[in-house]
Symmetry: C2
Subunit: 244 residues, 2 copies
DNA sequence: CCGTTTATCGTCACTTTGACGAGTTCTGGT
DNA sequence: ACCAGAACTCGTCAAAGTGACGATAAACGG
């Protein structure tokens, strides 16, 4: 704010501040988002992102973490601010400015009980992103389609140059499991051998636990933990979607 | 928002929504930000980022553009959302959620007249980022030091893989001028020959205008315009700050 | 025992990078 | 007029990284 303006909020119509959360995980080899079916107008019976009002004494991130826990019981997952959406008219009732957060959790997520009247469920994001797929309600309430798309774009982009993919993996994971995260989120096939060379060759990116696992069939694989290096330089290049 | 909650904003203490702007440019071979000297409490006489309240019928981006024009007269520059800052207590008067924007303008910026009581001026960002430099007021009002740092970080990062650097250049520019943007923003020296090869070799990144210029001394250089390719793949790698 | 699956190691050609040499064309000083 | 300096642009070369793919290893289920 510049210095001379005085504060008189009553001069302005009130603005509500909410958080909305794009919570992504991987279910059955698909990237999926948690969606809530709305029980009230507007957009009754449509799907929407989970979220809620920011309470007077909590930070924005705390509000997002709280809503997430209320909705899913999950805690401590990766959570980052995505962007803020505040167009007038995005909510027909009043001016609402919504701070969107992106959250990622590993594979087998809690069964999301519809503890209250609203029901939450995981939906593959593809149906909301590909306008060519006429499945399910292809539109979300409010501007949540846009927010969901921005969240997926952010996640896809950050896989290239950060260790974000490990947020989709359990604490200990194999190179193959990590590669499958990339393949599912990007929707491409990666060469297992080159991927292995890249991630094991980047110093500090993966820490071997010394253990092996045979889960997943095939030859047992080393288990790794996330290492201290959280930036990938040079990045893992995402192959451009095969143009035919 | 999840579906069952009802809207009753009067239940909550009001939250003010503002925009703050990190406006960067290059002055005298330094990266500089526009700062306002505050004329009122709190933080009277401190420096702060320009900004102001979001009006009822404008988008967040429009509010940022309006404030920017009121403050500098500048229009049409690069403007992107940076992040939202809403910790309780960041403003001692009331709960304020501020959506920060990052704006970049080319070299010779308008003289910023202190048209109203507040005075605006360009300050090199180094003094606010390097805590080791005890020049000028090394702290900004509110959490604006943090916002400024985030803005500079964002600009630095995006130079690597986007054509953002051209936002610091006039419409037509030489490869040398573009390189100097990188050198100043990153605070490193780049090899002129390798840089030239990289940016002219990336198809669609620069469009030759066919003209030459001799401004800047030395052999005349080709003038380029920004090309259609706005993503640099592979990116221009930022040399790590020379470790001694 | 044998095919299948997955992990991991290697090889090879190609591209990109970083370091640097060298020629070109302007300006400003003497 | 000449020269030093600055800046642009083209080249060369070794090192590193990448993509494509062959080959072996170690588990599994029949």
């Amino acid at each position: 704010m510049s210095g001379t303006e005085t504060y008189d909020p009553s001069k302005y119509p009130p603005i509500a501040v909410t958080v909305d959360i794009v919570l992504l995980t991987i279910i059955q080899d698909s990237l999926a988002a948690l969606l809530i079916r709305r029980g009230a107008e507007p957009f009754k019976d449509s799907y929407a992102l989970p979220g809620g009002f920011v309470q007077p004494d909590e930070t924005l991130a705390a509000a997002a973490a709280r809503e997430l826990e209320e909705e899913t019981g999950a805690r401590g997952m990766h959570l980052e601010q995505l962007g803020t959406y505040g167009d007038p008219g995005r909510d027909p009732r009043m001016r609402v400015v919504s701070v969107a957060y992106l959250a990622l959790i590993p594979n087998p997520p809690e069964v999301v009980g519809g503890s209250d009247a609203t029901s939450a469920e995981w939906s593959p994001v593809a149906s909301f992103l590909d306008s060519t797929l006429p499945e399910t309600p292809s539109l979300l309430a409010f501007d949540h389609s846009r927010i969901l798309r921005d969240g997926v774009d952010r996640a896809r982009g950050k896989l290239e140059y950060t260790g974000l993919a490990t947020a989709f993996c359990p604490d200990e994971f194999t190179v193959g499991e990590l590669r499958r995260v990339y393949e599912i989120v990007w929707g491409v096939d990666l060469d297992a051998r080159n991927f292995h060379r890249k991630v094991t060759g980047t110093l500090g990116f993966l820490e071997p636990t010394g253990e092996m696992t045979t889960r997943g069939g095939g030859r047992p694989a080393q288990l790794f933990r996330q290492g201290p290096t959280q930036s990938l330089n040079p990045p893992i290049l995402r192959p451009s979607p095969t143009v035919i």
